[in-house]
């Protein structure tokens, strides 16, 4: 049997998860900083920047998530069934976080009363922490190789799932802060540039610490994945993460504003890829390989065709949106 097609579809699935982790991560990360900003010092100012920076992109990011889930149930139905059959508590919690986040992001724009405004901020911030945590926890539960063993709760809340969740919270905080440096620079707010570059560096340190702990947990809980991440196909990506994360921290610490956003995306993206390639060819470690879970060939071809069109059409239109966002108003309305 030809494994090329299913492998390509699995690669697209991994790419969608990576895209959601990085693009969505910047978004969730901004929400985390919103939560941590507090009301004293530069807090309110930082929060205004966050609001300002997030408005245009947040709904586009959900599409990566939907696309990943569709790829999963269409391309690998047994994987979809096995994960949702066992990890439904994690998905339900992530989903509720997602909805609360969307609702309260809108609400805090319209809340007039300062007290309701603070409540809206709080719900928005907390759901920004919980959503990436639970999504990543589901990946950790999958990576542990114990999706099918023990009770549903044991499968969902294991050392692996919790450490993946914590890594993702640190990674989103890191991505969010790094992008907010860019936004602060663009809007000419030097105090906030300093504010967020310090936070980027701090988040990078936290990410390194938590990442190391998570690696130890992987070493104990999923030795095969551990070997593959450090001495197999996952290695190049693991190394990339380990080099780039401190590099971004260093650049921003020294106030060198070059390439830091690209490098941030590369660092966090590689983190996801290190797991994905480390786990290949297994979708569920030890239980289900890509070849075993694959849908019929015609379905795989259709999925790849849709992906091809998506890349051809979506990339340029996204570039246009980004360009319009970066560019000011035309003509006489320009202030």
């Amino acid at each position: 049997m030809n494994d090329l097609l299913p492998n390509l579809v699995a690669l697209v699935l991994l790419a969608a998860i990576t895209a959601y982790s990085t693009a969505g991560g910047a978004d969730f990360g901004a929400g985390i900083w919103d939560l941590l900003a507090g009301n004293g010092g530069r807090g309110p100012e930082a929060r205004r920047l966050i609001d300002h920076a997030m408005a245009p992109v947040w709904e586009v990011n959900n599409v990566w998530l939907v696309f990943a889930i569709v790829l999963c149930w269409t391309g690998f139905p047994p994987l979809f069934y096995a994960t949702f059959d066992r990890l439904y508590p994690l998905f339900a919690l992530a989903l509720i976080g997602l909805v609360l986040r969307g609702a309260f992001f809108a609400f805090r724009h319209i809340a007039d009363n300062p007290r309701t405004h603070r409540t809206a901020d709080l719900v928005f911030g907390l759901s920004s922490v919980l959503t990436p945590f639970f999504f990543a926890a589901s990946l950790g539960a999958i990576a542990s190789g114990r999706v099918a063993s023990g009770s549903v709760l044991e499968a969902s809340f294991s050392p692996m799932s919790i450490s993946f969740g914590l890594v993702s919270v640190a990674a989103t905080a890191f991505t969010g802060a790094s992008f907010l440096v860019g936004d602060a620079r663009r809007y000419g707010a030097p105090e906030l540039v300093d504010y967020f570059r310090q936070r980027t560096a701090a988040a990078a340190l936290v990410l390194i610490v938590i990442g190391t702990v998570a690696l130890v947990v992987i070493g104990f809980q999923a030795p095969a994945l551990f070997r593959s991440m450090l001495a197999g196909p996952g290695l190049p990506f693991a190394v990339t993460t380990m080099v780039l994360t401190p590099l971004v921290a260093f650049l921003l610490w020294r106030g060198i504003f070059r390439w830091y956003r690209v490098l941030t995306v590369a660092a966090v993206g590689s983190l996801v890829l290190a797991w994905g390639f480390g786990q290949a060819p297994y979708l569920l470690p030890g239980r289900l390989t890509i070849a075993q879970a694959t849908a019929p060939e015609s379905t795989q071809v259709a999925l790849l065709a849709v992906t091809f069109v998506l890349v051809i059409v979506v990339v340029p239109s996204m570039a246009l949106l980004y360009y319009l966002d970066q560019r000011g108003a035309l003509g006489p309305t320009e202030a």
């Binding site: 586009v60 696309f67 509720i96 609702a103 849908a295 015609s298 259709a302 849709v306 035309l330």
Partner: protein, 471 residues
């Protein structure tokens, strides 16, 4: 082991069905404006550009703000729906995902395009030349169309599955085209597409009908009323024809559903058309108005036409009595609302053609103000007809709802349902509050002569300077 699993599945069935019904019923309210409002907005912008009418451009720009807010809410409720396939019906996707999932993949693509181009459209008002802005906006209706056809492809697969090769219940091969374009897609697509354009036209027009009743009768109000109302009214007769075609196609495609819609007990000729009324477990019809032979006449244009009855299908493979009654009443409600819409449309065109101006009767505007809500009710009723009428099947003839449901305990699903109901109530409140506030702000703008329709909306272009933000 197997028995306990089955029991657990059985107990989560009720909350799972309620949750799916609740979240879908909510989402279907957001779909019409999401898909069709861009077209109306573009039409208005086109009028504005062609006639150099700043009022039309102002209307279009305000509608585009509503479009974005509404799309954001729809994106959230739609994301929930996609997760529910795993949270509530994982066994359906385990078996049929490889076939019906392809429609959803195409929908993912469409969703992407809509999200991006709505952004471009919103940003473009002040950042692009008017012509370029309009031309880029033209990407929106086809993206909405693509999304609609692909989601309906998945739904029609559930109604008239095709394109799959099954060996002992497992899908072993998929003919992609045949799985996407199943028999019912043709009529489901046109029926739904026209329904959402009608609904959008009527609901938008109803807002300006209320404005007319409140004595606002200027160029702004006339334009904003006439354009959407004309579109909706012109589609109404088309919908009656398509609806009729759809219902008659069901006689062959899903006889049990058709029998439930008409509460026909035994297969027979000279079948009466029962308007309203309920059927009981022994096939006796109570209440309602029975018109002799009309159902047979409508199906085959002759009173001798034989139409299927509920008993033509085994009792465990057709809707229960309660489900049949729900299907029937929903169907009647839909037809009733559709017919009322057609009469209102006839009134409108009569006045327009005979007197060459818009109607000026208070009663016309009162009815027009209700037409939008009526359309929403018709969409809900139509959706209930097709979903409840398919029971007990989730994929018609191939998989029962009870066999598709999650193995999660019912307490889990009840908790999730309760949480979602609470959050949806909050979202609905925020959404309506936001729209009311935007409307008030625009009204103020009109009296002050300023213009910044996006201000105060949570999504959309950010002002050029960071300092201007904040409330």
């Amino acid at each position: 082991m197997a028995a306990t699993l089955w029991l657990a599945g059985e107990s989560a069935l009720l909350p799972s069905r309620i949750q799916m019904a609740f979240t879908l019923a909510t989402h279907v309210l957001l779909v019409p404006l999401g898909v069709a409002l861009p077209s109306l907005t573009l039409l208005m912008e086109g009028i504005g550009l062609a006639r150099k009418d700043p009022v039309a451009l102002k209307i279009a720009r305000r509608w585009s703000v509503v479009m974005a807010v509404q799309f954001a809410v729809g994106a959230v409720t739609g994301t929930i729906l996609s997760f529910e396939f795993g949270l509530l019906w994982p066994r359906m996707m385990a078996r049929f995902g490889a076939a019906m999932g392809i429609g959803f993949a195409v929908e993912g693509l469409a969703f992407f395009l809509e999200a991006i181009f709505i952004g471009i459209y919103l940003y473009g008002w002040e950042r692009l030349q008017p012509r370029t802005h309009f031309l880029l906006g033209l990407a929106l209706p086809p993206a909405g169309l693509l999304g609609t056809v692909s989601v309906l492809a998945a739904n029609s697969f559930m109604n008239t599955p095709g394109g799959v090769k099954l060996i002992s219940g497992q899908v072993t091969d998929v003919d992609v085209m045949a799985a996407l374009f199943t028999r019912s897609l043709g009529y489901e697509f046109w029926h739904f597409l026209i329904a959402i354009y009608m609904t959008t036209g009527f609901i938008v027009a109803s807002i300006y009908a209320v404005a007319w009743l409140r004595e606002r009768r200027d160029h702004y109000q006339r334009l904003a009323f006439a354009v959407p109302f004309t579109v909706a009214a012109a589609l109404t007769p088309v919908q009656l024809v398509i609806g009729d075609l759809s219902a008659r196609a069901l006689v062959a495609d899903q006889p049990a559903k058709f029998a439930a819609m008409e509460i026909t007990w035994t297969t027979r000729d000279h079948n009466p058309e029962v308007v309203g009324g309920l059927i009981d477990g022994s096939g006796v019809i109570h209440f309602g108005l029975s018109i002799p032979s009309l159902d047979s006449l409508l199906v085959g244009y002759s009173a001798g036409t034989v139409v299927p009855g509920l008993t033509s299908v085994a009792a465990d493979a057709r809707p229960s009595i309660v489900e049949a009654n729900i299907t029937h009443l929903a169907f009647d409600a839909m037809v009733g609302f559709g017919t009322a819409g057609a009469l209102l449309a006839a009134w409108y065109f009569w006045v327009l053609v005979r007197r060459r101006h818009l109607p000026d009767s208070v009663w016309f505007y009162r009815l027009a103000a209700l037409a939008g809500v009526g359309c929403y009710a018709a969409v809900e009723a139509g959706w209930v007809t097709t979903e409840v009428g398919r029971q007990p099947w989730i994929v018609y003839g191939l998989m029962r709802v009870a066999d598709a449901v999650t193995g999660a305990p019912d307490s889990f699903v009840w908790t999730m349902l309760l949480t979602l109901v609470t959050v949806y109530a909050l979202i609905a409140y925020f959404f309506i509050y936001l729209l009311v506030r935007l409307a008030a702000r625009w009204k103020r703008e009109d009296s002050l002569g300023t213009f910044a329709p996006e201000e105060g909306a949570p999504y959309g272009p950010r002002p050029g300077k960071f300092g201007r933000v904040g409330s």
